[in-house]
Each structure stands twice: as C-alpha cells, then as structure tokens.
Symmetry: C2
C-alpha cells in the first residue's frame, strides 16, 4: 500500500519540478465525458469525472463528481478531496474556490488543459482577470504525455499481468475458432469481454473489433462487431485488448481460411512488414524511420497502408510514442516504452489483414511481449 503512495508521489514530483522550471503557479487537469484525461488517474488513482489541481508549492486538490468513489480510488494520493457537485460541476467555479483555498498569488500563471475549446478558454480569461491563463499545445498536458510514454516500475509490473491475460486469450481464441465454438463476430467479442473480466480486468482496452470476411476490408469495421460469420473463407480480423488496473493492451489477429493467391500475397506482405518493423525497433531508433521503412516495403509491391504503423499504449489505448512516418514525428525509442507495431492491408474485394504486437523496449532492446499471429485455419 505504502509503495503505491510512493509511486504517486514520484509522479507528482516530476510534474511539480516541471512547474517550478516553468514558473506555473497552478495546473488544472480535467476529465469529463467529452474530454477524457487519464493524467488524473496517473497522478491520483481516481479514474474519471474530476478536476485535479496542482500548485507550485506542491499541493494537490481533487474535485470529484463522485466523492464516494474518490475516497476509495484516490486513497493513496496526497490530494485533498473536494465535492465537485458543491460547485455545480462547473470547472471555473471549482477553480475559483481552489485558487482561494491554496492562496494562489494574483498575477501568477494558471495552466488549463491544452484541449480546452477556444470559446471556453475565453470564458476562463474573462473570469480570472487576476491571473495569467495559459492554454498551449506544448505545456503541462504534453509534458505529462511524454512522462507517461516511459513507464515506471509499477506500470511495467501491471503490464506484465495484462500481457499474460492477453496472451492467454489469444490461445483460447485460436482454439475456439478452430473448434467452431466461435462462429460469429459476436461470439469472439463476447468471449473476450467475459473472459477478460473473469481474469480481473476492468474490461476491454477498447471496443473489440471483430470483422469477418465480408467486413474486414474496413480498417475499423463499423459496427465494431455484429452477428456476421467469423473465421470463414477469406480474411477475418480480430483487434482487441484488455484493460487491467487501468492499463490497455492492444493486439490484432488475422484468421485466414482458403485464401486465393492475391489474399495469400497480402498476408505474406503483412507478416514480412511486421518482422521488418520489429527487427528495426532498437533503443535510439527514431520511430518514424521504422514506419517509413514499412511504407517503402509495401510500396515496392504497389500497396499502401491506410493507417499509422503503431502507437504507445498505457492508461489510454492510444498514447505516446507515435510510431508513424509523418515528418514531424520526433519520437525516438527508449527503455520503458510500450507500443504497438501493426501493419495492415485492406481491399474492398479481398478483405483485410492486420497483425499487431505489443513491443516493450528494455535496456537490452525490443521485446515482443504478445503472441499475436496470422492464424491459418
């Protein structure tokens, strides 16, 4: 128990140090239905629907919509609890109270989330004329995103457990599709949902994407899954993850049955692209170089991947580092990062194929943590 408090303190210390270097008197983070922010969970343990205030003199206040839940979830956090409802769940009202409570000096800098809508930003500026309201792309939110891209000990330990569950599900999914127990997209999605929670997960990492041969042409099938057949002739895609103690895994399997030569070629290209990308994943390697190599590899066969090669995973299913070829992607791989490598090809007639692994960078190089594969039926 004490250990987790120390973990939370260490995370808070990092952002407080950063605030000191930037001269920010107060940082406000917000998680609401329209704009989720996992930084609050990372810094307090409280999962959702709250504001978190951090002051330069190293104090924290958590204004939570559900104060009973906050008492349970944020018990290892040094944050003082404030019932958000007492301020009608209005962030500016709560912020006015907190600036008073913490004695934030007039004229000092208060940073609000980078995702604050422009009209809402104007409301803050109008309400807090005594302060310098800051809202910027490269500020506290981006700093926290960078911190979270490299996982700490606690996180790596949770991930270890999440990956074990994920790999166990992969084995069971292959077995059950082969045996015919899983016949439809719904069978696959429900199996994952129930078996993940049976193993102590909060749920799935995101809504499972199960797309049988008729629907796998779409990058993300819509709806995510239906009662359509799964695992029949052609290509079926299963993209899923678990959420364990808040942390998401993210893998994709492709089930292939009785492929025609064009489909076979697609599958081979995707498998080779996966191997190529993983072989390039080393500490110090720019992530965009790996993504560009895969783009070039596909281009040789006149194929084009309609999505990025990968992304970090953690409290969010999509987080830093970015693993894509955009020229402004400056992420470089380093120990403690966990990210996906997920090459895929899609065709309206042939269907789609994607293979997605979760990679952990260690001091000694990349470790493929997942047992994802193309499953030939």
């Amino acid at each position: 128990m004490e250990k987790y408090s120390a973990v939370i303190e260490a995370r808070l210390a990092k952002i407080w140090d950063w605030m000191a270097s930037e001269g920010i008197a107060l940082v406000m983070l917000e998680d609401n239905e329209a704009r989720r922010d996992q930084n609050i969970r990372w810094l307090s343990g409280h999962p959702c629907d709250a504001l978190l205030f951090l002051s330069l003199d190293r104090k924290a206040v958590l204004a939570a919509w559900d104060i009973n839940l906050a008492k349970l979830c944020a018990s290892h956090s040094p944050a003082a609890l404030l019932p958000y409802k007492d301020y009608d769940c209005q962030p500016r009202k709560a912020m006015a109270a907190v600036t008073q409570k913490l004695g934030i000096p007039a004229g000092s800098k208060i940073e609000i989330p980078s995702v604050t809508p422009y009209p809402v930003f104007l409301d803050y500026v109008g309400d807090f004329t005594n302060y310098d309201i800051i809202c910027r792309g490269k500020g506290a939110s981006s700093e926290l995103g960078k911190m979270r891209a490299v996982k700490d000990h606690e996180e790596l330990s949770i991930f270890g457990e999440a990956i074990l569950i994920t790999n166990e599900l992969i084995e069971l999914l292959e077995k059950n599709v082969r045996s015919g127990k899983i016949k439809t997209e719904a069978d696959a999605a429900m199996f994952i949902d129930i078996e993940a929670r049976r193993r102590g997960c909060e749920g799935t990492g995101f809504e499972t994407l199960a797309a049988g041969p008729q629907r796998s042409f779409a990058i993300h099938a819509f709806p995510n899954w239906t009662n359509a057949p799964f695992g029949g002739q052609g290509l079926s895609i299963l993209d899923f993850g678990v959420k364990y103690k808040g942390y998401c895994t993210d893998v994709t399997l492709t089930f292939a049955r009785d492929l025609n030569p064009k489909q076979e070629k697609m599958v081979n290209l995707v498998e080779k692209a996966s191997g190529l990308a993983i072989s390039m994943a080393n500490n110090g390697t720019p992530a965009k170089d790996i993504a560009a190599a895969v783009d070039a590899f596909f281009a040789k066969s006149k194929k084009k991947m309609p999505h990025g090669l990968g992304h970090g995973i953690g409290l969010q299913a999509h987080e830093f580092p970015l693993v894509r070829s955009a020229s402004d992607n400056e992420w470089v791989l380093e120990p403690g990062m966990i990210f996906t490598i997920e090459p895929g090809l899609y065709d309206p007639l042939l269907g789609g194929c994607r293979l997605e692994h979760d990679i952990l960078m260690t001091e000694t190089g990349a470790k493929v943590t997942t047992t994802s594969r193309i499953i030939r039926l």
Copy 2:
C-alpha cells in the same frame, strides 16, 4: 432508399439556410477519436472519423478516413467523397484543399467546431490568413444540437424500434434475475450486449452500468461492471441502453431485495420523484422547472440527488434538451423531443437507487415509452 436521401437533404437544407442567415461561407465539422461529433452522421450517414464541409452555395464534401466505409454509409448523401488519408488525415490540409475545390471566396467566414482546442484554433488562424476563422459556443455546432433536439420522422421511426427492443430486454432481464439465470453484474451486462446485437442493434447505447448491492452507492459504478453478485440483498442498479441504427435508448432499473426501512424509504422517494417529474412534463414546460421540483421534493426528506434529472437522447446517449435545474438551462419541452427522467439517491452504506424512463413529447403531451421499474425480488 430515396426517402432516406430526402431526409438527409432536409437536414442539410436547415443548416444551409442557417449559414445563409449568418453569412458563413463554409462550415467544417470534425469527428475524430478525441472529439466525436454525431452531426456528421446526422447530415451524411457516415458514422465516424471524418470531416464534413458544407458551403454556402449548398455543396457538401465528406473527407473520410475509411473511404470504403464512406462509400457504403454515405451513399444517400449528396456529399462528394474525399480520401482523408490523401491529406495525411490532417484537418487543415484537407480544409485547404476543400476551400480551393469549392472556390470559397477570400475574406469570407469559415466556421470550425466549437470544441476546437485553443492552440489548434490558433493554428487555423495562422494557416488561413485569407479567411475569417470563426470558433464560437453559439454557432453551427450549437445550432445543429438544437435541430437534433427535435427528432424528425425518420428518427422517431427508428426510436420506435429501439424502444421496442429496450422494453423486450427489460422483460427478459427481470425474468432472468428472478430465475437466477443472471447472478452477477457480468451476467447482466453480457446478456444485454449479446441480446441487443441479436436484435439488430449496433451495440449498447453506452457501456452498461451494472452495480450490485456492494457497488450501487456510486452514481456510475467503476468499473462499469465486474463479476460481483447482482440482485442479492439490498439495491442493485442496472443502467443500459441499446444503439439501433445509431440511436441510443437509456434506461435504469433498480433491483431491490429484502430492504431495510431506510432503503425502503429511498426507493419510495425515487419512485415518487419519477412520477412527479413525468406528471409535470408537458409541451411548453421549462425543463428546469421539472428538475427543480424534484430537487425540492427530495430536499423535503433531507435528501440530495447528486446528478441532473435527465437529458435528451438520440445519436448521442447525452444530448439536448438538458433536464436539469441549473438557472441557465433554458430548454422548454416541445413535440419531437426525447429525453430521460432519471431520479436517483445514493448512500455509501445503503447503496443506490435510480429509476430512468425515456419520455417522448408528442403533440398531445408526454409519452412514457419505456417500461423501466423498481423490481422487488
């Protein structure tokens, strides 16, 4: 088929008329992972991950991430399709192309979504110096929200089907909890998920909240559901909805077993509050008056409801009209509105109780469409 095209045209006509009255040359709507916008689906049929551009001369362009999906889903829309990937899925790149393609005159007004983060707004202003970039709370997004608060014929017809499925599930849930087939939160959640899709739904309206007696004290239990027992001694809450052709229902049942007098009192108050609110729901009634009456009713028993009384439902699980007592809530009930009435009380020791109905306003008054209830076991 043609009918649905006419529905889409009628919706577009409304927003084009509004644009003319405001002198806006181009409206851009955006749906991405971080900021969902169901207005795009409402105006085109395409469900997600896209930009929709509407011009004053009544043209539409849909830039979709998954162009194969767009060809299927937006086939009844007059919108020209643009592969978003050709612009690296960067909204400003796509917008630059569209302003050219549609010949938007220099100096004219372009409105971007009201939820655009302030730093991103600055990027638009920096990129489009030839145009007057507008981002405001009371603009296109809010106008579309108002339009969608009153459902059209097509929507009412879809809702009718969604409600039938929801009520069928309510019957089955009661039966299965009574028979002991549903014993855990997971049993209840999985039952809803699978049975909704079996009846043609895209999925659930939102992640089902199933909270047994140990967890029902939380307004929204976290995690949403677990393997904990459901329906045992005390109060169990089941808050769920289906998503049918995009449209969400939203109901809450409370299962009550062997209550103590304090729990019994809570349940009675919630049932009475529901009846009171429904009796007040008439065309022309301000929604805040109903919510205030319920607050006052609870206050007489020294109870306080820690959430709003209700909200509109539609393509989103939470939309307009607002049904809450905040003094700035100016929504007035009118025919075609569909909204929830969901009084609830929560106590860390006694558990929680909520009863949620979906109400349709018709020309002749409020119709309670759902068969939600407190189920005494």
